[in-house]
Symmetry: D2
Subunit: 459 residues, 4 copies
C-alpha cells in the first residue's frame, strides 16, 4: 500500500499535463492541480495500513449488506476511492462476461487487477470518445480518429490514436483504463479496443480544466476552494500498448461489455451521491430559512416539504436498488439495474427543482452578499456583519457564510459543474431512460393489461 | 368463519340504506349494491376454511418479509380484506399506544377484536366527519353536529350524533369503527369519542352513491361493470352505544391516536395499490401503442419511458418502506413512515401525468370508439371491427375493447373516481406533506449543512 | 335562413344512425340524440333573422378586432356555430391556396359555399381516417380502406369507401366535408380525395356514442345532463359523389391543403375554449374553497394562485395570437400560428394540473356526495343538507350542487371526455409541437446565438 | 446631455466604494469595476446628441405602440438605460398617486426629475432593506436599523441610517433613489421615508461584488468577460438628506406607493429580458445540436420543441401585457399588471427547465472543454481543435467557443447570477404570485362557476 507522500512522489513520472495553455512542471506544486493531488494523498493516508496488502476499497461486496457498507465507505473517501473502485469492479464484471470467449484477455485482466491491488495504484476509467459527427458511425467518420482506434499492429502490441473526454482527474492517476464508448459493428474491428495505458506513456497528453476559484479571497468559496478536482481531456497521440495490457482487440461483439459494466457502477455512484446531495440541499434550505426567520412561513414550509419528498424518493430508489441487488457468477453483488437507473434519472432531471426551491427560499443575497474579505475590512466589516443578520439567533457572519456556501454549491462555478455533471454523468438523460426501459418488467405489465381487456391475444 | 352465502344472509338485518333517493329493500337484490355484495361474498368463499377459527387476513405480520407477503395477499382479496385488515391493525396499534393510560378501553378493544376474528365479521373504519366550516374548531361550529359527538350519557352507554363521510362500502359491512377525525382540545371532550357501532343499530342511516355504470350495454364498461363498490355517507342519528363498545370517551389527548394509526395503514394500502396501478397503466400504454402500430415511434417510446420511471419510483418507495419497517411494542411490523408518505404523495400528485401520457399515446378513440353493442349489430358491426383495426396483429375487436378498458379505467365515471380518490385517500396532498415532513430526519440534514458552513452555530 | 323547427324537420331525411347497437328511428325523438338536436335547433332560433340571407357566423373577419369579436360570438353559440364556421373557413382558406392550380375545383367550392350560406345548412368536417397500422403508408395498408379512397370512377362522379372517426355530431348536420387526413404521395392518387357528401347519401352509416348520463337522476349531472353532443363514427360504404361535389381528386401535392387550413381554425377554437375553461376552473376552485371555509388557508391560496397563472398564460397566448393575426390573400384574418399552437399545447398538456388542483382543494365529496334525489328524500334529505354544509354562508344544497358540477365537469363521464379531447382535438400533443416548431422564428434565435459565439460560421 | 467621457469623469467625486475588502481608488481604473463603468460610458455616447436637452430614454410612452418601441430601445442600451428609466417612471407614477395628499412632495419630485433629465444623470433605485428577522415588523426589530429610517430631524432635513441590498451598480450611478421596501404601520413613521441621496454624500458606503471572471484567460468567458455589472451593498451611515430631496416622510399610508410603482416596471423589464433570454437559449440549443450533429435526433428535437413552446408563452405574456396596456392619469402608458406578473412568474419559475434542456442537448463538454488558451498552445492546440469537432460543417474552434458561451451563460459564475436573479428580481416567486392574484378577475371567474351551479347564492 502507498502512503500519501509516496503517491505524490509517484506523480513526478514525466507525465505531460497542460492547464490553461501551459505545460505543468510538477503537479504537486501547481496552485490548482496541487491542491487536488493533496486531497487524494490524504485519502491514501486515511486507509493506509502498514500491514495490509491491498487497499480496502478494492474489496468486493457479496450481498446487500456489503453493498450498503461499501457505498458509505466510498462516500467517506470521495472521488479518490470511487474512481479506482469503479474501474476494478468494471474489469471484474466484464471479465465474468467474456470468460468463455476471450480466456486469454481475462487472464490479462486478472493479472493486471492483482498487480493494481498489490501496488495500490489509482486507475481512471476513460470511456467517452471525441465522437465527431453524432450522426455518423465510428468507422465512417470524416476524421477516423474521432473514436480511439488501432493505427498500427506490431508483434508485441498495438499503437492507438484518438482522445477521451470528460475524464475526471486522469492527470492525477497512474493508469488509464481505455474502453470503447459504444457498440462496434463488423468492419470496425480497430475500434473494438480496450486496454490499460500508463499516464506517463509516450504520446499521452492531458489538458486539464477546473472549476476551482481563481479569486484572491478563497474564503468566499467554502466548498470549491478547499475541494476541487480537474476534468481531463486525454489525447492519445500514437501510444504504444504492449500485448499484456490489451483486454479486447477486434472482437466487436464484446465492445459494449466494458461500457455496460461501467455504466451500472457509475450510476450507482451517481445515485448515492445525489441522495446525499439532496439531503444536503434540504438541510441548507431549512438552515437559511431559520437564519432569515421564515422557517414557519407557509409557502416556505411547503417548498421545503417538496424538497423533502424529492430527497426521500431518491433515497428510496437507492434503498430498493440495494435491497434487490443481484449476485453475479463471480460472487460480486450488483445493485438492481431498474431501481438504480430510474432513481438516477429522477434525481438528475429534478436536481434543478431542488436548486430553484433553495434559491427561492434563500433570497438574492446568494449572489449579492459581500465577500469574506469585506467582512474583515475594519471600515465596512462591522456594517456588513450588522446588516447581514436576520433572525438574531444566527449572527451576521454565519448567515453571510451560509449564503456563500449556497452560491458556491449551486449558483457559481462549482454549482454549474454540478448542474451539468448531475445530468451528464453516466450518460445523459436519454441514455438513462433507455437503460431503465431495458430493465423494466414490461412483459408482466402488459400481461396485467391484457388480463383486463379480457379477450385472447394473438400469440 | 363465514361462507359467502352466510355473509350475504347476514346483511339482511334491518339496516337502513338509501340509493339515489330510494330506500334499499334487500341489498343482495339491488341491481348495483347487490353486485358489490356478491364480490365480497366471493372473497369470503375464497379464504373459507371449515377447520379455521379466523380469517387469514386478520393475522399480524411481524417483519419485513411478513409485511411484503401480507400486502400481496390483501391485494388479491381486494377491497374486502383491506378494510377489515386496516381496522383491526388500527385498533391493535392504537391499543398499544394507550395501554398505560386507558387500560379498561384496551381491554374492550381486545375483547372486540377477539370476537370479530371469531365471528369473521367485516369492519369499516369511519373517520372523516362532515367538518362544517373548515376555519372553525369542532367545539365551536355553528352546528355542533358537524363532528360526531356524545349528546347524552346514560348509565350503560352514550348516545352519539353526527355523520361520517367518504366511507367505502359501509353499507356492506357489519360494524362501523367510529373514531375522531382530528385532535381535540380540552373543552371538546364530547368529541373525543371512539366506538364500534353495528350497521343495523337504530339511528344509523346510510346513503350510498356508486360509480357503477347505468348503461344497458355494460360490456362497454369492462372495469367498473363487473367490479364496483359504493361510497357511503353515514348518518348517526342519536345512536346508542353500550359501554363495552366505547374505546375512547373524553380523553382529548388521545383523540388522534386512532387516526394516526389508521393513517399509516391507509397510506400503505394506497401506496401499494398505486404501485400496481402505475404498472398497469404502463402495460396499457405499451399494448395500445402496439395495437396502433406506434410502439417504436420515438416520442411514443419516450412517453412510455417516462411512465416506466414514474412507476418504478413509486415501487421503490414501497420497497424502501417495507425494507426499513419497524416493529412496535406489540410485535406488529409497521412500514416506515417517511418512505410510505413520500411515495404516496409522489404517486398521488403525479397520477394525472401517467393518465395524460396514456391518453396521448392511445388517441381520441378512448372516448369515441363505438360500443360493444354496436360491434354485435349485424349491419354496422363488421364495419366497426374492420375500421377499429390498427396493427393487423391485433384484431379490431381487441383494439376496441382496449379503448374501453382505458376509458373506463381513466376517463370515465370510474376513472374520475380514481382520479379523485388517488389524491384524497389518506388525507389530501397537503396532509401527506405534513406527515412526510414529520418523519424526515431534518436534524441530520441540517447538521450536514452546518458542517459545510464551517462556523460554530449558537446552540 | 332556417328556424329551429325547420332544422329539426330537416334531419328526418332517411339518414342511417346507430346508437348502442340500435338503429335510430327518428333523431328528434331519441332520448339522448334528440336532446343534442334540440340544442342545435335553439342555436338556429337564436340567430334567426327573417330578413337575413345567411347566418351571421358564416361571415369572415378581416382584422384583429373582427377576429376577437368572432371568437366571442362563436363561443356564445357553442358547438353549433363552431363546426360550420370552421368548415367554411377551411374551404375558403384552402380555395385561396389552390386557386391557380385547380381553378375548376375552386369554382365548385365557391358554388357550394354560396349554396350552404343561402340554405343555412350545417356542415361537419370529417378528417381523421381509421388509419389502420400507423407504421404503414395509406397506399400500402393491408386493408386498402383504412384511409378513405376512390374505389370506382364514373362519368358523372366517383365512388368512395372508408371511414372517418372522432367526428363530433356528424349525425346532426346536413353535409360531411370529407378531406384527406394527411399528405399523399405519388401512387396514392385515389386517396387524395376531398368532397362534400350529404349525411343521407346512400352508403353513409353513422355510429354515435355519447358521454350523456344514463342515470335516472339527471339533476346530479348539472353539466352533461342538459348539454351533450354525440361523437360519430362515419362509415362510407361505397358512396357515390357527383362531380360538382368533388373539391380535390388525385392531385396528391395538395392533399394537405385542406387539413392545414382546418388545423389552424381547430386549434384556435380549442385555445379560446380552453382559455374560458381554465377561468371556469379557477372560479370553481375559489368557490368551493369558500364553501369549505378554506379560501384563506395558505396552501389553498397557493394552489389557486398557480391556477390563476396558468389560466392567464393560456389567455395571453390567445391574445397574442389575435393581436398578431395575419390577413390572407382573400382578405380573411388568420390568427398567428406560433402563438396559437404554443398556447394550445400548453393548455392541453397542463389541463390535468388545473384539475388536480381543483380536486385537491375541493376534497373527496366530489365523488362521494349523495345525489340530488337523496336530497329530496324526506327521510335522509334533511341530514344530507345539514351535513353537506361547510362555511355557513353557503347552504348545504349549494355546496352539494357545487360538488356535482365539479364531478360532472372534471371527474366523470363528461370530465373524461374533456380530459381526452383537450389533448386530442387538433391532433395530439406531438402534432401540436410539430406545428409550433414550424412557425417558430428559429433563424433569428440561432442568429442571436451565433452573435454571442462571436466567430464567423460556415455558410 | 453627457458624453461617455464626462460620465466617467463624474464618478471621480469622492465616493466610497469597496471591492473584495479594499477601498477602490478610482473606479475607472479598477480592473473589474472600470470595465463596467466603461460599458455605461459607451451607452452615454450611443445616445449622445449635442443638440438634445435630455436623454431619449427618459421620454414617457403613452400607448401600446410607444411601450413596445421603448422596450426595444431600452433593450439595446441594456442595464444602463433600464435603471434610470425605471427610476424616473417610478417617481412619476408615484407622484401621480400621491398628488392630492402630498402636493409639496410631488413638487419636489417633479423638480428633481426635471434636473435629472437636464443633467443626464444616472439614478439607481434602492429598495430592498437588510430586513433583519423576517418574522418581525420593521418597527419592532431588535436592531432598529434593519430597515432604513430617520434617526434625527433637523430644520433643513433629516439624517437616515440603514442599508439597501441587491442594488445593481449603485456605485456607478449618481443618485440613489431610496424608497421603503414594504408597507409601514402607524408607529413606524420614521421608516416611511423616500428620498434621493447622491452617491458621494458623506456616510454613504458601498460594498461591491461581481460575477466577472478572475481568470487570466478571459477569452474562455465570452459573455461575462466583456460585459458585467457589480451588485452593490449600500450602507447609509447617518446620511443627511436636505428637505428638497425628501419625497415621503412619515406618511405611512403611502409607504408602498413607490414600491408598487417600481414593481410593475421592474417586472416588465424582467419579462421582456426573459423573453429575449429564452429565445437565445433556443438558438443556442439548436446551434449546439447542429454542431454535435444531433439536431434531427427525435428526443433532441422534442426537447427543443419544449423550449420553443416555453419561449413563445413568455413572449405571448409580454405581447398581451403591451396590447392591453393602460394609460394613467398623467398620460403614461403602463403594461397590464395581470399578464406582466403571470408571465414573469412563469418565466422565472421555468428558467431552470430551459437550462436543463440546453445542458442535456449540449453534453458534458460544457464544463470539460479545454480553454481558449489551450487552443492557442502549439503542442496541444491542434489536437484540441481536432477532437472538439463534431459535425464537420462546424470547425472545432467554433464548437469549443459555443460550449464556453453556454457554460458562461448558464453554468458558471454568470450563469449562477442569472439563475438567482431570474427568480429574485422583482421580488421572489411568492411575491409574484401575490401580485398576479391581485390583478386576476376573480369575480368574473366565480360568476361563471356560480352560473353553472345554477342555484342562487347568498349575497
Amino acid at each position: 500500500m502507498k502512503t500519501g507522500e509516496q503517491y505524490l512522489a509517484s506523480l513526478d513520472d514525466g507525465r505531460k499535463v497542460w492547464f490553461e495553455g501551459e505545460l505543468v512542471e510538477r503537479i504537486a506544486d501547481h496552485p490548482i492541480l496541487g491542491r487536488s493531488a493533496q486531497l487524494i494523498a490524504e485519502g491514501y493516508d486515511k486507509v493506509y495500513d502498514p500491514t495490509g496488502d491491498h487497499s480496502p476499497f478494492s474489496d468486493v461486496p457479496t450481498d446487500a449488506a456489503g453493498l450498503r457498507e461499501h457505498i458509505d465507505f466510498v462516500h467517506d473517501l470521495g472521488m479518490l476511492a470511487h474512481v479506482t473502485y469503479t474501474s476494478i469492479m468494471t474489469l471484474l464484471t466484464a471479465a465474468g462476461r467474456i470468460m468463455d470467449s476471450c480466456p486469454e484477455e481475462v487472464e490479462r485482466i486478472n493479472a493486471f487487477v492483482a498487480r493494481a491491488r498489490a501496488e495500490d495504484i489509482r486507475i481512471t476509467q476513460c470511456i467517452t470518445d471525441a465522437k465527431g459527427h453524432r450522426k455518423v458511425r465510428p468507422g465512417q467518420q470524416e476524421d477516423p480518429d474521432s473514436y480511439v482506434h488501432v493505427v498500427e499492429r506490431r508483434d508485441d502490441g498495438v499503437v492507438v490514436r484518438g482522445a477521451k473526454l470528460h475524464i475526471t482527474a486522469a492527470s492525477l492517476g497512474h493508469e488509464l483504463m481505455v474502453i470503447p464508448t459504444k457498440g462496434m459493428k463488423p468492419g470496425e474491428e480497430d475500434y473494438a479496443i480496450a486496454c490499460m495505458i500508463p499516464v506517463n506513456a509516450p504520446g499521452v497528453k492531458i489538458v486539464d480544466v477546473s472549476y476551482a476559484p481563481r479569486h484572491a479571497d478563497t474564503g468566499t468559496f467554502p466548498v470549491s476552494g478547499p475541494v476541487s478536482y480537474p476534468e481531463s481531456f486525454v489525447i492519445l497521440d500514437d501510444v504504444f500498448v504492449p500485448t499484456e495490457r490489451i483486454f479486447l482487440d477486434g472482437q466487436t461483439k464484446y465492445a459494449t461489455v466494458f461500457a455496460h459494466s461501467l455504466g451500472l457502477w457509475e450510476r450507482l455512484g451517481g445515485l448515492s451521491s445525489m441522495a446525499d446531495g439532496a439531503d444536503l440541499l434540504v438541510g441548507l434550505a431549512q438552515l437559511i430559512a431559520q437564519a432569515n426567520g421564515t422557517e414557519s412561513v407557509a409557502h416556505v414550509r411547503d417548498k421545503i416539504d417538496d424538497m423533502i419528498i424529492q430527497a426521500t424518493l431518491i433515497r428510496a430508489s437507492l434503498e430498493a436498488a440495494i435491497t434487490h441487488c443481484h449476485v453475479g457468477d463471480n460472487g460480486a453483488a450488483f445493485p438492481d439495474e431498474l431501481y438504480t437507473n430510474a432513481g438516477k434519472y429522477y434525481a438528475a432531471s429534478h436536481y434543478d427543482r431542488l436548486v430553484q426551491s433553495l434559491h427561492d427560499i434563500a433570497g438574492g443575497s446568494i449572489v449579492t452578499a459581500p465577500s469574506l474579505a469585506d467582512l474583515q475590512n475594519p471600515e465596512v466589516g462591522p456594517a456588513v456583519r450588522k446588516y447581514m443578520q436576520g433572525n438574531p439567533e444566527f449572527d451576521g457572519e454565519t448567515r453571510l457564510r451560509l449564503f456563500h456556501v449556497i452560491r458556491d454549491l449551486t449558483a457559481d462555478t462549482y454549482g454549474g459543474w454540478r448542474l451539468v455533471t448531475n445530468i451528464q454523468a453516466g450518460g445523459g438523460l436519454y441514455a438513462q431512460k433507455i437503460v431503465t426501459r431495458k430493465w423494466y418488467p414490461m412483459e408482466s405489465a402488459v400481461a396485467r393489461a391484457k388480463e383486463l381487456v379480457g379477450v385472447p391475444f394473438a400469440p
